[in-house]
């Protein structure tokens, strides 16, 4: 039986450390956030002649922007342990591997939620979208972001330290995120259009997807960290 209190304590420790580093370096604020806004702007330029297409495509475009930003955030989260013996230090730390995984997921999720908020404001301003059903929108965005972070951290540990990490991570992560992209787009589509009935079913699928990856990551992270 896993020691849940030690997992929680270690997750808190790792998340706190990663967020302290972000607070000092501001990589997500100064680089990832502008990148996310730029993606939204590029979509707006690409579909300039049709506001209707932009408005109808808002859920998909929003999640593609989140997904691309998420890739960068995950790469950043694991690049922290790439240099100078830090992976060995992490292995020897005595931290519960499940705690390390959940701490990384928590840190990436928090950073992405700030980006989500920024991007939601962006789609309202640029795509003329309306936030029809916030009661569905908020949990959908939170759960999908948590799922994205869980998938990212599971594959992030595999790519860390590899010479081809920057290209390997998207190759591993994007196919695994296809179901999440589908569910999240449908749930947010229902939330934005105010027809939330169908959206709740997509949210249930999102919860199942996210829970599965959180469980899989917590169970296998130690092996992946040892073998990466």
């Amino acid at each position: 039986m896993p020691d849940l209190s030690s997992i929680g304590r270690d997750a808190w420790l790792v998340a706190g450390k990663d967020l302290r580093i972000e607070a000092r370096t501001r990589v997500v604020v100064n680089q990832v956030a502008p990148f996310a806004v730029l993606v939204l702007l590029l979509f707006a330029f690409a579909f300039d002649s049709s506001t209707r297409v932009l408005r109808e495509g808002t859920p998909g475009l929003f999640w593609i922007a989140v997904l691309l930003s998420g890739l960068l955030a995950v790469q950043r989260a694991f690049s922290l342990e790439a240099p100078d013996g830090l992976r060995d230090a992490l292995r020897l730390s005595g931290l519960n591997p499940a705690g390390i995984f959940l701490g990384k997921v928590a840190s990436v999720t928090l950073q992405l939620l700030v980006l989500d908020l920024l991007l939601l404001l962006g789609v309202v301003a640029l795509y003329d979208a309306t936030l029809g059903a916030p009661a569905l929108l908020v949990p959908s965005v939170v759960v999908a972001t948590l799922g994205l972070a869980a998938v990212g951290c599971l594959y992030g540990v595999l790519s860390v330290g590899q010479r081809v990490a920057s290209t390997l991570l998207p190759l591993l992560m994007l196919p695994a995120l296809a179901p999440l992209l589908l569910c999240a787009t449908q749930a947010v589509d229902a939330a934005l259009s105010g027809t939330s009935g169908e959206g709740w079913r997509w949210l249930v699928l999102l919860v199942a997807f996210t829970t599965s990856y959180l469980g899989l990551g917590a169970a296998t992270f130690g092996i992946l960290l040892d073998d990466s």
Binding site: L13, R24, G85, L86, L92, G94
Partner: protein, 216 residues
């Protein structure tokens, strides 16, 4: 009492190369053992094996009572490895680094403060990001991490490297203190005279094998 380190015919691979090719080594609790040998002889691999970082693929290997072939993760919390790489976050301060790794091992604030003080890092260096430190100061920070975690087995790979005279004396003092506190120390060093003064026993690592140095 079971030895701190007990290797019998241990084989470990680095890539496909057997960096340990049937190593035998027993280190009793409280002992300080110096590993000698030329570059590439397998000293670092031996230390990393004892830390559970390099798997033992054949033979027997027990560290602090744990079988490394089947249970190498559980021993890690009780081990302190000072490697060539410092294992520190450049963007965190000296104190934040030491505190993080110390808390990971279950140490408290008192251990952190005592370690910073012992390593001469309690003053203005405490709040300096590690990325701004000199190589010697980074080494001291790594040693502070090691001390704060109070490991039962110290694995020191060239602990004197990169340190000034005072720093090297400090390392010798830390080893002596660790032994008084009941820890076991396995170190490799090219500063033989200095290391021989603190070691109880020497062994030579050659071609992935370990043999006693006669009369040492």
């Amino acid at each position: 009492m079971e030895p701190a380190v007990d290797l019998r015919g241990a084989v470990a691979l680095v890539g496909r190369f057997p960096a340990l090719a049937g190593a035998d080594l027993t280190v009793d609790r409280g002992e300080v053992v110096l590993l000698q040998g030329p570059n590439g002889a397998g000293k670092t691999t031996l230390l990393r094996c004892c830390a559970g970082l390099v798997p033992v693929v054949d033979g027997e290997a027990r560290v602090l009572g744990h079988d490394l072939r089947h249970d190498r993760r559980r021993v890690r919390r009780r081990i302190g490895l000072l490697a060539h790489a410092t294992g520190l976050y450049d963007d965190l301060t000296v104190e934040a680094n030491v505190r993080f790794w110390a808390q990971a091992a279950g140490a408290d604030s008192g251990d952190v403060d005592a370690a910073l003080d012992r390593l001469g890092l309690a003053g203005r260096l405490r709040d300096v990001p590690v990325g701004q430190l000199s190589a010697g100061q980074r080494r001291r920070t790594s040693l502070a991490v090691l001390v704060s975690r109070r490991p039962e087995l110290w694995l020191l790979d060239e602990p004197h490297a990169g340190l000034d005279q005072a720093g090297r004396d400090l390392v010798d003092g830390l080893i002596a203190d660790a032994v008084v506190a009941g820890a076991t120390v396995l170190l490799s060093s090219h500063e033989l005279e200095r290391a021989q003064r603190v070691a109880h026993r020497q062994v030579e690592v050659v071609g992935g094998h370990v043999r006693e140095v006669p009369g040492a």
